[in-house]
């Protein structure tokens, strides 16, 4: 940058071109109004600068009461005490600062641009996370601003060991991405791997953490998510305490947690807040729900079309009686109902809140009752599909639940073709796939497999969540020498 304002302004304007939302103003500062300055900002990010409470307004007012020399000195030494003031040596840097939502000030005779924070971009206020509701525990959720999100984690982990590492991704969006981790718990090799994967692609823009996730996962063809997502700061903080790394992306209320495993997707935050019996029961129910969400329609087809001997006779005869007069084969019937359910779900998500609720009633009445009365489907298929839907809703993570919803169609296909053999074939296929799947080197089926790597301690928090006082060690994600997370303070007393 040059000392002459006109040259800097010219270069800056040349870089920005014409854009209606960028406000540019030339002003005069100093006691004698003899020092020119140029101010630029995105329209909504800056306020009225003459207003007493505005940082930029106060700064400009101060500068109007100083001589030229005093202005330069106070800028160099940040003598006015603006906490987040940054100096840029390049025009590009200054433009980047402006796009980050701050005000950029060029002063004649000063060879640097000054970034001053003001209102910033508009953002929503803190809200409860929609997708991870809990009965017990914090109601705070992440929001769009990465700064607020990292602050929400910091609020829960008040230790200097918590590190936030910022990088920028996206050649056109320059999206801020934060790696948040506990310095002494996270494996350096894991951090290295994360950095490597984040820099693996050059992309023009990152608009949500989902894009980072897809670009960084190991097996693109797997229906199972290899990153865990959360909108809950307490969940993110808990993961950091386990030695995992949280990735925050600007403009995204969803944080990524890595590495992850199957068990982590079934856990909820309040598993740790509730008593162990209740938490374990809930978890077992969710495991069963995950299995049924994938298999129930397929099993229904396998049993009714191939292996009728499995069902008690009275039940089977009821099934057969219910199917009388239905014009479609059972597989078409199941597919029709499943697609109808998926349509309802999709419509419910897209419609505004109040209307979304009516979709449930419309779906229940029209698709369920009317379709049965019109003999388009049998009542048992409605029960099967409804039960499957309930099971899929019980899975706490949406991305994870989606993978089961997709696999359900694979099972429908296999079971309608090959009966129970198809069911077993599908089950083995999914199991082989899961056993090969890893998330940043962690077997996806941990701790049900390879638990010996952490002396079987991780099994304490698997199907059953053991009492909290027994869970003395961190899971395998944490560094080997930093695994102890709980010990009794009065252990000496007990020894005596």
């Amino acid at each position: 940058m040059e000392k002459e304002l006109s040259k800097n302004k010219e270069a800056f304007l040349a870089l920005l071109g014409e854009s209606a939302d960028i406000k540019k103003k030339t002003m005069l500062l100093g006691l004698n109004q003899d020092i020119g300055c140029f101010i630029a900002y995105i329209e909504v990010t800056g306020g009225s600068f003459l207003f007493e409470n505005s940082v930029v307004g106060k700064l400009l007012n101060q500068f109007c009461e100083m001589s030229g020399e005093e202005i330069y000195k106070s800028l160099e030494k940040n003598a006015l005490g603006i906490s987040d003031m940054t100096l840029f040596d390049t025009i590009e840097g200054a433009a980047g600062g402006m796009f980050a939502g701050d005000v950029i000030l060029f002063v004649d005779g000063f060879a640097q641009a000054i970034k001053i924070p003001d209102k910033g971009y508009p953002a929503m206020s803190l809200q409860a996370p929609d997708s991870e509701k809990v009965i017990r525990g914090s109601k705070e959720g992440f929001m769009d601003s990465i700064k607020v999100n990292s602050a929400l984690i910091r609020k829960r982990l008040r230790t200097p060991k918590l590190k936030v590492e910022e990088i920028q991704v996206g050649t056109r969006t320059s999206t801020n991405v934060d790696l948040v981790y506990m310095e002494d718990l996270a494996y350096p090799s894991l951090l290295e791997e994360v950095r490597k994967r984040l820099n693996r692609y050059e992309i023009d823009g990152i608009l949500d953490s989902g894009m980072i996730e897809q670009l960084s996962e190991e097996k693109w063809y797997s229906p199972f998510p290899q990153f865990q997502t959360t909108q809950r700061p307490d969940r993110a903080a808990m993961s950091i305490l386990e030695g995992r790394v949280v990735v925050l992306v600007d403009n995204s209320p969803t944080a990524l947690i890595l590495p992850t495993d199957y068990n982590s997707f079934i856990k909820t935050s309040d598993d740790m807040y509730n008593r162990w019996e209740i938490a374990s029961f809930g978890r077992l129910i969710r495991y069963i729900a995950a299995f049924f969400a994938m298999t129930v329609p397929g099993l229904y087809l396998a049993v009714t079309n191939f292996h009728t001997q499995v069902l008690p006779t009275t039940l089977l005869l009821s099934f057969a009686a219910a199917r009388q007069g239905v014009p479609f084969p059972a597989v078409v019937e199941v597919l029709l109902m499943e697609i109808a359910f998926e349509l309802l779900r999709e419509a419910g998500v897209r419609l505004p809140g109040a209307m979304g609720n009516t979709i449930g009633i419309v779906g229940g009445l029209i698709i369920g009752q009317a379709a049965v009365e019109a003999n388009i489907v049998s009542p048992i298929v409605v029960i099967v599909v409804a039960f499957t839907a309930l099971c899929s809703f019980a899975i706490p993570n949406e991305e994870f639940a989606t993978s089961f919803r997709l696999l359900k169609f694979l099972f429908i296909f296999l079971c309608s073709w090959l009966g129970f053999y198809g069911f077993l074939y599908g089950l083995l296929l999914v199991l082989i796939h899961l056993s090969h799947l890893k998330s940043f080197g962690i077997p996806y089926l941990m701790p049900f497999v390879g638990a010996d790597l952490n002396q079987y301690d991780d099994e304490r928090d698997s199907l059953i969540r053991q009492p909290l006082f027994l869970m003395k060690k961190r899971p395998i994600y944490a560094r080997r020498n930093q695994r102890v997370r709980l010990k009794r303070k009065d252990s000496d007393v007990f020894k005596k």
């Binding site: 499995v310 199917r323 090959l418 053999y421 296929l429 199991l431 082989i432 090969h436 010996d452 994600y477």
Partner: protein, 719 residues
């Protein structure tokens, strides 16, 4: 990053090896042992298990002597020299290809016989081999994880099923333990060891084990666990089916699963679901064989073309399984190869390798010796059927007319199921008359728009003429057992005219199948512990050593009633006996759950609990003595030690003893039936006599003398 690639833990090794042993062991060993060792099967398994444990020690010894990170094929080359080592590795390739091919044949055969009867064997095998190749591609770690996670999901149901099945075991069928000669026992032991020798796969685990020293423990654990499960399974199968019946079955363990009744009635039959156990366990051995065949191929090629060898191994396995499926002779040849060459090879080579490692320098001579020995051995030697396209007969009757077999079906009217108030007849009928049973059942498909699904048939009624006609009976038994047409737990009845009994359905408020089932369950005067099923009929016709009393149905007031029983003794239809005699027979065998009768003065007696202990006296004759302990409830209050209580106790004892002695003696003379069903218990006490009379059952009945001693406990005696 965290998991060490291609390294597996001791628990994973144990579970992997257990699966390798159990799949083929539980499926094929019982019928093979029943055929070779008979009742010696249990002892044979124990002998095989001991040998297997010793073999595990050898495996541990060899693995521990191997160099760090060295694979077993590399070790063979080091011990025996490059060329002999290469030849041995080639032999191992052959071993794994044959084993994997045979196992995939068994897999395909199991699926097409038990799950998908009309599907293509080739597609099923191709599909499973493709899945296996996918599992093998990513190394051993992924496979080990599958079995680590599945272990208790499969073992727990198997053990639970065995527990429920154990209730139906007739312990006398397990004895004598030494029924055949030592040769049978030796062959049985060797066959058992053949299964346990599969643990030799552990040798190939050396470079993959997280701790090499843990291989021995994992191997011994797998052999011991597998051995105990096999022992339990064989004992249950032997106790339920008997060895002769079992050797006629293809997969006795799967058949067993179709008969077990789980309390609660959630499932009618479990066999289709329990096939999952063999699906996964056989897949384990199949993918192991493919993996080690590919690894050995790779060693032969000097480590080139990693994934290509998996494809080659899969192709070879497919070829072997197709050959086995198409040619029975090839399957027999495979059996012989495993028996005479593969198993000795799998045992001998590790021992020699171990010796070589302990005594370096002797390798080449040993290899030459082994190859020469090996050379000498060589010289010597899916269609879908929708629910509405099926019909579910709840009862079936078979009659023998003059020159034909008449089959009658009774179906449930589905409109009545959907709406209880529907105005329709209670059931629908179908009759077929053909020259024999097979032609009859085949004809149904041509004359109806629906497929017959026998899986929910409650009752089978056979006419006495049909049972007495040897040709018809043999045809029926053959078709039913080969095609697994009718479930073994279907209730069995005889009648003079089966079609006429089924026609009584129209007088009943429920389908006749359900009616008869409920009738057996809820009789007031006497109740059996277990009703007679088609499976019992199969077993007794095959074992030819027991008495089976089949209830005979007749019409009374338009309703079906049981007013006599039909005795089948030693596999021969003997004729009818009265209900009283049948009840006494069940009493003497301890098969009664409840019995009600009244004394001469009209006092009502209910026998609620019954224990019977029968035994043979030592000596020259055949004297069978039954000690019967009955706990009875008298329908009036009795004071303890009162004269009334003593009188009733004495009268009940006398009534039972007199009835038992007189009726037993009469029936031993005509129609020569031993209602105590004692013969099969003879083996427990006197093996020599058992063998002697087995060849001449008629003489046994002639020589038999029965005695009874009844002990009576009054339960409502008030003190």
């Amino acid at each position: 990053m965290f998991s060490k690639n291609n390294k597996i833990s001791k628990r994973q090794m144990f579970r992997l090896l257990t699966y390798d042993l159990l799949g083929i062991g539980t499926l094929l060993l019982p019928s093979a042992l029943a055929g070779s060792a008979g009742k010696n099967g249990i002892a044979s398994i124990v002998a095989g298990l001991v040998a297997g444990l010793l073999y595990s020690l050898v495996i541990g010894w060899v693995v521990n002597a191997m160099e760090e990170g060295e694979s077993y094929p590399a070790c063979l080359k080091r011990c025996f020299g490059k060329l002999p080592g290469t030849i041995l590795i080639f032999c191992y390739v052959l071993y794994f290809v044959l084993l994997g091919g045979y196992v995939s044949y068994i897999f395909g055969h199991l699926i097409v016989t038990e799950l998908l009867k009309e599907q293509s064997f080739y597609w099923i095998v191709a599909g499973i081999l493709a899945l296996s190749a996918y599992a093998v591609f990513e190394g051993i770690e992924g496979r080990a994880r599958i079995y680590e996670i599945l272990f208790w999901f499969l073992m727990a149901p198997l053990l639970v099923m065995l527990f429920f099945a154990a209730r139906d075991v007739e312990w006398a069928r397990l004895f004598p333990l030494y029924e055949t000669d030592m040769r049978g026992m030796s062959v049985g032991s060797y066959i058992s060891f053949e299964v346990f020798s599969l643990s030799g796969i552990a040798l190939f685990l050396a470079p993959f084990a997280r701790k090499r020293t843990s291989i021995r423990g994992a191997c011994m654990g797998a052999v011991l666990f597998g051995g105990l499960v096999l022992l339990a399974l064989y004992a249950v199968l032997q106790g339920i089916f008997g060895s002769l019946s079992m050797q006629a079955m293809e997969y006795p363990a799967v058949t067993l699963m179709s008969m077990i009744q789980i309390p609660g009635g959630f499932l009618q039959r479990q066999d289709a679901l329990m096939v999952a156990i063999w699906f996964f366990t056989i897949f384990a051995l199949l993918s192991s064989s493919m993996f080690y065949a590919a690894e050995s191929f790779k060693e032969l090629s000097g480590g080139k073309m990693k994934k290509g060898w998996v494809f080659l191994a899969a192709l070879a396995l497919f070829g072997i399984s197709v050959l086995s499926y198409r040619s029975g002779e090839f399957t027999v040849l495979l059996h012989r190869i495993f028996l005479c060459a593969a198993t000795p090879f799998a045992v001998l080579i590790p021992i020699l390798a171990g010796v070589c490692m302990k005594r370096p320098g002797k390798g080449k001579q040993m290899a030459c010796f082994v190859l020469a020995l090996g050379g000498m051995f060589c010289l010597s030697g899916c269609s879908t059927t929708e629910l509405e396209n099926r019909r579910f007969p709840l009862a079936m009757g078979i009659d023998r007319t003059e020159d034909a077999c008449r089959i009658s079906y009774k179906f449930q009217d589905l409109s009545k199921v959907a709406n209880e108030n529907a105005d329709s007849e209670s059931g629908t009928d179908f009759y077929i008359e053909e020259k024999d049973f097979f032609t009859g059942i085949s004809k149904y498909a041509n004359e109806s728009n629906k497929i017959l699904d026998y899986n929910h048939m409650k009752v089978l009624v056979l006419s006495e003429d049909f049972v007495e006609d040897e040709e018809s009976r043999a045809n029926f038994l053959d078709i039913c057992s080969k095609k697994s047409l009718i479930a073994r737990n279907t209730l069995l009845f005889f009648a003079e005219d089966a079609a006429k009994i089924l026609a009584l359905d129209q007088n009943l408020d429920t389908a006749i199948g359900s009616y008869l089932e409920e009738m057996i369950e809820t009789r007031e005067d006497y109740r059996l512990k277990d009703a007679v099923t088609l499976g019992d009929f199969f077993n007794d016709m095959a074992n030819k050593e027991q008495l089976l009393l089949v209830p005979v149905l007749s019409e009374k007031g338009g309703m079906p009633v049981i007013d006599r029983y039909y005795a089948v003794a030693g596999g021969v239809p003997k004729g009818e006996i009265g209900v009283n005699e049948a009840v006494l027979s069940y009493l003497s065998q301890g098969k009664l759950k409840k019995l009600m009768f009244s004394l001469e003065d009209g006092t009502a007696i209910t026998v609620n609990r019954l224990k019977v202990q029968g035994g043979f006296s030592r000596g020259t004759g055949v004297v069978y003595q039954d000690q019967i302990h009955v706990e009875v409830v008298v329908e009036k209050d009795l004071a303890a030690g009162s004269g009334e209580a003593e009188r009733i106790r004495a009268e009940v004892k006398e009534w039972l003893e007199v009835q038992l002695i007189s009726r037993t003696d009469e029936l031993l003379k005509e129609p020569e039936i031993d209602i105590t069903n004692s013969f099969y218990k003879l083996g427990m006490s006197d093996r020599k006599k058992y063998e002697e009379y087995r060849r001449d059952m008629e003489r046994y009945v002639e020589d038999l003398e029965c005695g009874f001693e009844v002990e009576v406990v009054l339960l409502n005696e008030r003190g």
